[in-house]
């Protein structure tokens, strides 16, 4: 068990993210890529993700305001968003993306709308959690190695 309290806290936060299904294996991959030459790699990637994906979210939102829905376009946007989300291991967000695409394929506008609302929630929640996580991580100092969630 980590002696350093900060580190310990970090470990707990991290574990909970995994246990609650917010993050998946991809996040661990990112952690493994982090090294001395890129000590804040994971945080950088996550920041980049949120910056770029915000644009996509906006696009989808705007597309959902135009009726009738252009499912093809919506699907395309979501496909991109899903790809992006997979990069950081955003598990729940990704799941919602998949669902959204299913609704698009079946032309279910209502389903799309509902799904999208849920997606935005998950997206926001994850962001908050990760922000808190990185804050502690910066304070705690470099971790030794990434460890897989149990």
């Amino acid at each position: 068990m980590e002696r350093n309290p900060l580190r310990r806290q970090l470990q707990i936060m991290r574990k909970s993210l995994f246990d609650q299904g917010y993050l998946d294996e991809q996040f661990v991959q990112l952690e493994e890529l982090q090294d001395d030459s890129n000590p804040n790699f994971v945080e950088e990637v996550v920041t980049l993700y949120y910056r770029d994906s915000a644009r996509l979210i906006l696009n989808i939102e705007q597309a959902l305001e135009r009726k009738p829905y252009n499912f093809h376009k919506l699907d395309a946007y979501m496909h991109q968003f899903k790809g992006s989300s997979s990069s950081i291991g955003a598990k729940k967000v990704k799941a919602e993306s998949t669902l959204f695409r299913e609704y698009c394929k079946s032309g279910n506008g209502e389903g799309c709308m509902r799904c999208f609302q849920q997606l935005k929630k998950e997206y926001a929640t994850l962001r908050k959690k990760l922000e808190a996580y990185f804050q502690v991580a910066r304070q705690a100092g470099p971790m030794e190695t990434a460890c897989r969630p149990k």
Partner: protein, 593 residues
């Protein structure tokens, strides 16, 4: 394997470390991650967000990248299109990636030529192994070039007679083995063994005819402006797809660039010539082709044992030959290389005697002698075992030992003299000697020379000379070999050693002799090839044949088709059948004399 480009650079010492990867992805997050991952593998990474940008980067530094990893969904261009472009222009391995793993999409990627399709999120372990694709491509590239050379050779030798159409039977092991030739005129059967429409996923076999059309189209469009769609349109082969053309173009480019590098071959020559030739006459093919054809004609009888193919080199059994020499291989039976290159033995290898008899005889022999030839060893066609006895030396009676690397020589000469079976045992040689005509200049040491020299069968042997001319006449017409350009240079060399029976014929002469008309394609065709380039079997017309499934030479010699059918059975009967048709023309003529 020939390691080229990056492989030869310093960074290749630690291969796969130092592999140059170009990542094309509009998702910045993924670009960043991939970059990091690849760097961890000690690869050199360049990223870009747009497909066009990627193409620019690739064009700027042709050899700057070893592999491209691209996302399927790009904003400015469809990933598959980019994939095609890269494959065509740069011929680099491309890995596609996407978050969408739908089978259909993956299949599409593979169809467009992706060497792999990764699903996002991508794991490190997947990226660690991407170097395999680079490696594999290098290996195949070498093989393709050889094959292409083979085809080219065949084209060249394809003169007049479509005899060689059937050559493919000789070489075409894999594809044509056993396939019955449908019909002589079936030039279009170039396609795969099956038909284009065949259900099984047909792999297009680029037969000589088809390749000729291709080259013709390329030349018409202008090599610089060429594109698969344009080529496809010009070729007007209904069953051919753009992808087929694209991949073939890729190989062709590689081939040409390799030729250029090697300096010997006149690329343009070949390419152009081909087109020329091909335009001339469908059957005539260029040089090689023609010569082959001509030879074929001559060879009509006997065992045309070309067995060019590496594998297929069915030992051409030249019946009639005494003994079965291993045939071609006596000389430099080249390793039959895969695909194309088939078995064109490396003429160079055996310059002397051996080769001559073997090599040149190789094809030529086989062709010519059908009966007598036993060892048709184009050059090193290992397979071609013409079961000849080692006559090669004998051939030398008059023949130059040079042995035409390509059969071409032989072919040509052989044509002249059916008897030329130069390679065949003693008897044969005698024949050859007497028959004169037979150009058999075995000297194949250089294909080039061989070709050339052989081409002038006329010179050979005294009266045969005349005969040859005559003989050739007809042939030339048919074969319309037109590769004058190709040959000329070579011929001038003194490759034609006087020793050849037909000696005396300078290159030019040869040309003349043979083809009074354009037949000279025979040799010339080969010439164009620059035999030197082909150390391999390429020279052997047959080689590519195995790739082809249908009688390429179709029209001319229907009978020849027979060959393909019984590749392994190159018996006299087959040859005879040859004789009946056009083959007899040349051959017959020679005989007559």
């Amino acid at each position: 394997m020939v390691v080229e480009t990056c492989f030869s650079s310093p960074r290749t010492d630690a291969f796969p470390a130092g592999l140059c990867v170009l990542v094309v992805d509009d998702d910045r997050t993924w670009s960043k991650i991939l970059e990091k991952m690849l760097k961890k593998c000690f690869y050199e990474v360049t990223t870009c967000c747009l497909a066009r940008e990627a193409l620019n980067l690739l064009r700027e530094r042709k050899d700057g990248y070893d592999i491209v990893i691209s996302d399927v969904n790009m904003p400015d261009m469809d990933g598959f299109k980019l994939l095609e472009h890269v494959g065509l222009e740069m011929d680099l391995p491309v890995i596609m990636m996407s978050v969408d793993g739908e089978t259909r999409r993956v299949m599409k990627g593979v169809q467009h030529g992706a060497c792999d399709y990764l699903l996002k999120p991508i794991r490190m372990k997947e990226l660690r192994n991407i170097w395999q694709h680079v490696f594999r491509k290098k290996i195949h590239e070498v093989r393709d070039i050889e094959s292409m050379e083979g085809i080219e050779i065949i084209h060249m030798t394809r003169s007049g007679s479509e005899l060689f159409d059937d050559v493919h039977f000789l070489g075409g092991e894999d594809t044509t083995s056993g396939r019955k030739r449908k019909d002589a005129d079936n030039k279009h059967s170039d396609k795969d063994l099956g038909d284009p429409s065949s259900t099984k996923k047909a792999r297009v076999v680029w037969t000589v005819d088809l390749h000729q059309k291709f080259v013709k189209a390329v030349n018409q469009i202008g090599f610089d402006k060429v594109g698969p769609k344009k080529i496809l349109d010009l070729m007007n082969v209904p069953w051919l797809t753009r992808e087929n053309v694209a991949s073939h173009l890729q190989k062709y480019r590689l081939y040409l660039s390799r030729l250029q590098k090697e300096g010997g071959m006149k690329n343009s020559c070949i390419g152009m010539k081909h087109s020329d030739s091909s335009t001339k006459d469908s059957t005539a093919g260029s040089g090689l082709h023609n010569s082959m054809n001509v030879m074929q004609d001559n060879m009509s009888n006997g065992s045309f044992s070309f067995s060019v193919n590496n594998s297929c080199a069915p030992n051409v059994d030249l019946k009639g030959h005494e003994g079965d020499r291993k045939g071609i291989t006596s000389g430099p039976m080249a390793e039959s290389r895969g695909t194309f290159s088939t078995n064109i033995p490396d003429p160079r290898k055996d310059k002397s005697s051996q080769i001559s008899s073997d090599h040149s005889l190789g094809l030529v022999d086989s062709v010519v002698n059908m009966a007598s030839f036993s060892s048709f060893s184009w050059n090193e066609i290992p397979e071609i075992q013409f079961k000849q006895e080692d006559e090669p030396l004998q051939l030398d009676d008059g023949f130059n030992q040079q042995s035409l690397p390509g059969l071409q020589h032989h072919m040509l000469t052989e044509y002249l003299q059916p008897a030329v079976s130069v390679s065949l045992g003693p008897s044969i040689t005698e024949k050859v000697a007497t028959s004169g005509g037979i150009e058999v200049k075995p000297r194949c040491d250089k294909y080039r020379s061989n070709h050339i020299t052989h081409s002038c069968p006329t010179e050979a042997v005294g009266e045969s000379h005349t005969q040859n001319n005559q003989v050739f006449e007809p042939i030339s017409t048919t074969s319309s070999m037109k590769s004058p350009d190709i040959i000329p240079n070579r011929l001038t060399e003194s490759e034609f050693s006087p020793r050849n029976l037909n000696e005396g014929v300078g290159v030019e002469d040869l040309q003349l002799c043979w083809l009074q008309g354009d037949c000279y394609a025979m040799n010339f065709g080969l010439q164009g090839f620059d035999c030197t380039e082909f150390n391999n079997p390429a020279m052997i017309p047959e080689t590519p044949f195995h790739l082809y499934d249908e009688p390429r030479w179709g029209t001319r010699l229907p009978q020849l088709r027979f060959w393909s059918r019984n590749r392994r059975d190159h018996t006299r009967s087959a040859l005879v059948s040859l004789g009946s048709g056009t083959a007899s023309r040349s051959f017959g003529l020679a005989m007559r004399k």
